[in-house]
């Protein structure tokens, strides 16, 4: 049964190759998901480099240098703050109090996250709450 052996070997090779790609991919590009509080309360430099943080833009903390362009702000989850530095244009939906997700490298020395990606969630759901109750 040389043929079925060959088929099995071929499938195994594909599965192994894809498995290898996924494993090394996760190891090298995976980012740890943390809350602002978790990251802010670390007392020593974390092992992992890449982080992904969810939080809101602390009102009044935004400093935007449009000329570079560089965006700096504090991200908060209501308890703690983390400074975020993002080199790039300010996204359209970015504003005080908006929910944002940032990805990047955390440097413990200056306690700042150097973001390579910044996603602003759409604000519509907050506004919608202002409409009040349904007629019963």
């Amino acid at each position: 049964m040389g043929k079925s052996v060959r088929l099995t070997v071929l499938s195994l090779v594909v599965v192994a190759a894809v498995g290898y790609l996924i494993l090394t991919g996760v190891r090298q590009t995976g980012m740890q998901y943390m809350t602002v509080t978790e990251l802010a309360r670390l007392d020593r430099a974390p092992k992992a480099e890449g982080f992904r943080l969810d939080g809101t833009v602390a009102p009044g903390s935004v400093v935007y240098d449009q000329r570079r362009p560089r965006l700096q702000f504090k991200m908060t989850d209501g308890k703690e703050n983390i400074a975020v530095v993002y080199d790039g244009l300010k996204p359209d939906a970015f504003a005080d109090g908006r929910e944002v997700v940032v990805e990047g490298a955390y440097r413990h020395s200056d306690r700042a996250l150097h973001a390579s990606k910044l996603v602003t969630k759409c604000p519509s759901k907050y506004e919608a709450q202002g409409l009040g109750k349904d007629r019963s």
Binding site: L7, L10, V14, L21, P69
Partner: protein, 653 residues
Amino acid sequence: MSELGRLALLLGFACSLFAVGSIAWGLRTGLSGPLRSGRRAVWAVCGLALLAMILLERALLTRDMSYRYVAEHTSKDLPLHYAFTSLWAGQEGSLLLWLLILSAYGSAFLFAYRKRLDPFYDAVAMVVASVMVFFTGLLSFVCSPFRILATPPPDGMGLNPLLQDPGMMIHPPILYTGYVGFIIPFGFAIAVLLTNRSGTRWIEEVRRWTLFCWGFLGVGILLGARWAYIELGWGGYWGWDPVENASLMPWLVGTAFVHSVMIEQRRGMLKTWNIALIVLTFELSIFGTFLTRSGVLTSVHSFAESNIGPWFLGFILLSSTIATALILYRKALLESENRMDAVVSREGSFLFNNVLFVALTFATFLGTTFPVLSEAVTGTKISVSAPFFNRVNVPIALTLLLLTGAGPVLSWKRATASVLKRNFVLPAFMGILATLVALPFGATGIYTLVCIFAAAFVTTTIIMEFARGIQARKSVETGALPSQVVNLVQKNKRRYGGYIVHAGMVILFVGVLGSSVFQKEAHGPLRNGEALAIGPYTLTLRGVTEQQKQNASLTTAILDVKREGKFVGTEHASKALYSKSQQPMTEVALRTTPAEDLYMILGGVNEDGTTSIQAYINPLVSFVWVGGLVMVFGTIIALSDKMRLRREEKFAP
């Protein structure tokens, strides 16, 4: 009026339930009466869904702010055409559109098979009706689009500026036509299992339905990419965002299916696999809707978080469990008629293609849901993004591209050494030649070189196939070359349509390669008269204007564009500030040539009077869109082929 809307959906729910029950009863007893009433109930749901849509549209167009949905998604200053399309701006309306398309598919299906009084088709209709139960139920009891506000506001919240784009008017309906359409193949698969029907007629029918919605899904994905490119203003069109992945996954599995179905038609093999692929495609379509709408994952495209997530998850679990149980229960029905003869054969390459497509889907799925999965398994949430997908998916996709050239020219059953030599020496030579030519132009990196090799390799095999076909018809064909090509394609639309799709894919790959590897970026603050250099271009700022539009104020930078010192045009990069939401919205200035796009973004006017401009050169982006169009063209040709049935199938009931 809102009561009427609610009533329509409630009646739709009742009719769907009735259709399922009545058809089930008819199938069980063999009575034709219940089957007929069940079919009629499916039609009725379509009418009721249409009525509900008209009622909601009426409210949207008249801006009846007592409707919660209208107040949430429109405003009085919204242009009329966007008020019309804001039907699918929010969740409730999107689900209504889902239902409408679903019931339209159900009716179209019944219409197409109205003359075939075979309970098999009733079983398909029953599956469609059970999905209708889910959607009418959701719209009636969980998230009704006809909620009325206790105190209507004087004006609405306005439509999300990102959705105020011509592309967004048609992208969702087309994407949904693709997504939802997989209900029909799914219905066929379940009906085969339910009725224990052997035979292959259904597989030819299902191939055509699948190709239809597969084509629409592809167009939907491309329109989404085009929208992201023009509206999101980050210079790219694909970011491996969860919602993008969600639409890609059913397309990938659907692609695997349209290939492997050929093996089943030709050789009676892979029956279980094919049914599994159909089921998976459908479940992934539902999963896609779930991802877009549930807010489980953060995405630039997720416009609302909501309470419908658990319902969708429950529906996916239930339907896939039933499908799996049926597959196991009917194992005997799905026995293969033949065995694989050799690994190096058409079958072998298709099998390899399928394994790779499923692997690609698996990797995409894993990456997309990784935060949720890793938290469940290890307790820490790990997230992966674009670098992961590029790392994992690019090599798989490139292997698939190579197979695109190899698969179709391998012979069925077993490819001999002489076949391999005849079919592969020239393409491989052309591939190497193209790679060598590309080297001095700065092509480095293994993936870039493999992609260039593969593109030339596949193109050559496709041209050779056409040339061979024309050569074979030399005796009957005397016209000019173009007419010979047209006649050749008409002789075997399915085959050559397929080659055209492959050619489109090659073009698309070249576009992706060019725009991802060779992208250039430049930015800077400019004073009036100052210039920004990028590649062969210089952009000179002529001035900035302010202007008031219907529902936004517009700041525009006027740029004179020179290419290699020669003036080529004036471009306008803008930022709109929408009066309702006070949200700025970048409007990109785009200068498209076949070879490259010049993409210009206005950052804003600075306090010191300078203006921030960011520019990209995206080489070969137009190839992405053109490749997509060629694929659509090929799909239409393949679809226009007649039904191909074996003799015994023609007379099958």
